[in-house]
Subunit: 160 residues, 2 copies
DNA sequence: TTATTTGTTCGGTCAATACCGAACAAACCG
DNA sequence: CGGTTTGTTCGGTATTGACCGAACAAATAA
């Protein structure tokens, strides 16, 4: 059965999670709601109603989320309204965002090494490690994503 | 040669990076400085001087960083002062933090499924995907870290 | 046309928090 | 013993930004 209490809790938790990774809390709540709502596509007024937020906040949150490709706009023939739903690849997107952070660290390591050009190898060791570790991870991440894509298809998640 | 300009830029960049992942900007600057300074261990007054921050801010930043095991306290025999340096495994630590986020998402997916207990499989699909993808990544991450540890040893980074 | 629905943008308010300076606390040195 | 160095804690300030309401815009329905 539908445990409304738990559903509300879920939405709040997801809100806090995404707030923790840099989004606005409301944007996180939108994601949470879009993950459990029925139907899976919702209009802005739907979201205003469901989340008890102002329509301006919802509007901004959806703009951010669509820009990040975590949520996509969606329409139905014969229906002039605009719906929003989680994007099929939202989790891959989130993952790629992490990957980007790693690449950033790799680049920062390189920048640091450039700044210490000519210094002793001993002095450069901290930065080399920083660069090499993050370079390694930046290389491995895409492989993980590929691997997951295969499993995903195996599991029959193709349509999602 | 030591390009001071670039070094300052590096410290600022690292500061911004770590601010972006949830630390205080000053804490990020401390990390940046500890990655390039000579010697690699520094006292609190050293950091106050180098970063132009107040000693209270430095004190707090170091407390946070040592709690996260990104920086460690360090002493020298016959020297009563306390030094601070980046910890050997600071990058693995950062990585494990990411891993923890992934596990959190997995757990959130499970919580969502519990909240929708009894609903149609169709409705549960978004949450199942969320759970399965993050479960997969949470399993693969430790393997990546192991793989890196081997390479790290190969590369002669053992002592760092 | 006018009224209603939907949506964006802008200004202001409020909350969170990073940072500093000052007060306080130890430990060591003269 | 003072006095100096080192370090933490606390209160206040200032910045940031999330959020809301209101104004505005545009499209549709009556």
């Amino acid at each position: 059965m539908a445990d409304i209490e738990k559903q509300v809790g879920f939405v709040e938790q997801v809100g806090l999670y995404f707030e923790g990774v840099g989004l606005a809390r409301i944007a996180g709540r939108v994601i949470g709601w879009l993950l459990i709502c029925d139907p899976p596509h919702q209009t802005q007024p739907d979201l205003v109603e469901a989340l008890g937020a102002s329509k301006s906040s919802i509007s901004v949150a959806l703009k951010d989320l669509t820009t990040l490709y975590l949520v996509e706009r969606f329409t139905l023939p014969g229906d002039r309204r605009t719906y929003y739903r989680t994007s099929k690849d939202m989790w891959s997107r989130s993952f790629r965002a992490r990957m980007h952070q790693i690449s950033e660290l790799k680049a920062l390591g390189e920048a640091g090494l450039a700044a210490l050009e000519g210094e002793s190898p001993e002095r450069l060791k901290r930065l080399s490690l920083m660069r090499d570790m993050n370079a390694f991870m930046a290389e491995e991440f895409p492989k993980l994503l590929d691997k997951w894509d295969a499993i995903k298809r195996e599991k029959g998640y193709d349509d999602l």
